[in-house]
Symmetry: C2
Subunit: 368 residues, 2 copies
């Protein structure tokens, strides 16, 4: 099984007509990959009803022939800019209203393109490809399931080899190596490994704290596949004597997560699912310690469209894949976040990740 880039581009052409553009310049890196399979960077795709042309440079000439053998390619040399090449391609393609990706085009690029493109009007578009990417196809779900599998096997190695003298950084490297040994090409993002007070920083870097320093160890990690798809999970391990506060915080987060997951189905708004988890945490008295959104889409990128947060009015659709990751962070003490990956199905949802998540299961006593 392999992805149908052609089918994706056909869908995009329909969206372009609705957006009233007869050409589209795609500069978002993951969007270019989604539509062509090309894994390099610094390259843009131009699409209209008669043309599909990848604009790249000589560094990628051979790689393009390998990865996208059926695609038209225009190569610039190091003496010209991608803006100049784009203007040439647009003029030849005879589009009159050329969309560009307003979220992936800088003001500087736009200014330069506007100067060079004289035969067409540039029109700002927003999220045309991202909205296609929100709903995963069968091939993409296979990739994501593989990325979850690598991540889960990897954390199994970590869990079974925790030692009191291990540092956060050592755990991070062990986890990365384990995921690679199971087939991942690497971590899906820089893993967060935090002991005690570091676990209270939602986006901490792994540092030099030892496991023995505190009873709470938080790991937020994922794997990536060769095809570029990611997974994103978080688990907390209680490596020492659990306190009543740890138990209360943990069980509150878990209850919030489970209640939110239960509510996910097509037609439900993201904001409403966020509110379920947030309300539960607020009623337990921890509202001000949960500062981030409940979850997000992921796939080729670790953060993709569909944000599950207090302001997203978007409705869930069958085929979306999102994280559900409430947390409570007590500054200077510890933090708990529990994160799973959830597929929206026609009759509700399927939790794709299946690691232990009960409080008792999180207790992993280790040798001193």
């Amino acid at each position: 099984m392999s992805p149908s880039y052609q089918a994706r581009r056909t869908k995009l052409l329909r969206e372009m007509r609705k957006a009233n553009v007869d050409g589209l310049l795609i500069s978002g890196l993951a969007n270019v990959r989604y539509l062509t399979g090309f894994t390099g960077d610094s390259s843009w795709l131009f699409l209209n009803s008669a043309n599909c042309i990848l604009l790249s440079d000589t560094r990628y000439e051979t790689q393009l022939a390998d990865e996208c053998p059926n695609l038209d390619v225009e190569i610039r040399d190091s003496g010209s800019t991608i803006n100049e090449l784009t203007a040439k391609v647009v003029a030849k393609a005879k589009s009159k209203r050329v969309g560009f990706e307003a979220h992936h085009t800088t003001v500087a690029q736009h200014g330069s393109l506007g100067e060079k493109i004289t035969a067409a009007v540039l029109v700002a578009t927003s999220g045309l490809v991202e909205r296609l990417r929100e709903v995963k196809d069968k091939w993409e779900l296979e990739q994501i399931r593989a990325a979850i599998e690598y991540a889960q096997r990897g954390i199994g190695v970590v869990r079974s080899s925790l030692r009191s003298d291990q540092t956060e950084t050592e755990i991070r490297y062990l986890l990365e190596a384990a995921m690679r040994s199971f087939g991942a090409t690497g971590p899906g993002f820089e893993p967060i490994v935090g002991v005690g007070p570091t676990a209270a920083l939602p986006h901490a870097h792994a540092g030099t704290r030892c496991v023995a320093e505190h009873a709470v160890l938080l790991v937020d990690w994922g794997a990536s596949t060769e095809s570029g798809y990611r997974s994103d999970l978080t688990r907390v391990f209680i490596t020492g004597k659990p306190t009543k506060q740890m138990e209360l915080v943990y069980k509150t987060v878990l209850a919030a997560q489970q209640a939110a997951i239960k509510a996910i189905r097509p037609g439900v708004k993201c904001v409403d699912v966020d509110r379920i988890a947030r309300g539960l945490i607020e009623r337990a008295g921890f509202g001000k310690y949960f500062g981030h959104g409940l979850g997000h889409g992921f796939g080729l990128e670790i953060h993709e469209a569909v944000r599950v947060n207090p302001i997203s009015e978007r409705e869930f659709e069958t085929g979306m894949v999102v994280t559900v990751e409430p947390g409570i962070y007590l500054p200077g003490k510890f933090g708990v976040r529990i994160e799973d990956d959830v597929l929206v199905t026609s009759d509700g949802n399927e939790v794709l990740s299946n690691l232990e998540r009960e409080f008792d299961q999180a207790i992993v006593p280790i040798l001193a």
Copy 2:
């Protein structure tokens, strides 16, 4: 020794006056780090003569207090956007002409900022912070020297343990682990490890080719320090019987690199140094196999301002650090690139990296 963020911001305020703005919104990630030391993302800095305020969100509240204890911070919650927070801060700071970074601000962000900021005019600026970053201070040079040291020690491990059955990917992981063991926090970028035809792809991913498949092995790698600084080097190893063609290509690339390095000194134009290397490769008959620029600045990012290429009229200045990396790529056969890191000094330059680079030294026969 530690960096003086205050001194950097004072210099920037001078540049702002020249650019005729009385406030500046800095959204480039590396620029924010350069001016504050903050290592998180999704955060912007607002600067004027009376204010220096980091705009962030609750995920980073504690980390900001750790990393930037003397900085004013404005934190938004997950129910508001950074654009809204920015408008509030700008209104309070009373700047009238607020610059934004045209190369780091998307058309979409700019549109949204323009709607929300009513008390000031938004003015596009370009490269104000990047130009400061072109010239490295003493502390930065220490960091870069450390990043080079980690990288050089790492490749030493690889070189001394090459085996015919090793794959490109295995070498990549070994290299990363070795650099970390010497003190790097990770690779400076995804290392390129290419055997034979893969070495002919200037930006290849490490794959499954074995060392034994071809006599040429190319490694393009670097380390990163905890402070975020990088190194960037390339070496080619001849692991089998060298052919006359390999020798010719290698010696041509090396001669081009050495001639270019010799020409680097303050006041010389980048384009002229590029021309020296390119001319030498062209006269040897390989001109069309050298498609990329000769080099680039690096530091907090692996590609920074100062591009040494056929169109850059920029002059070298004392304190700049650039790569010098000519290459010849024979599609389907092999490629050779030799890359070193060069500091521009008042009386010429200093090559910061000191690995063997002669053809004879590149021959590393391995066991079958």
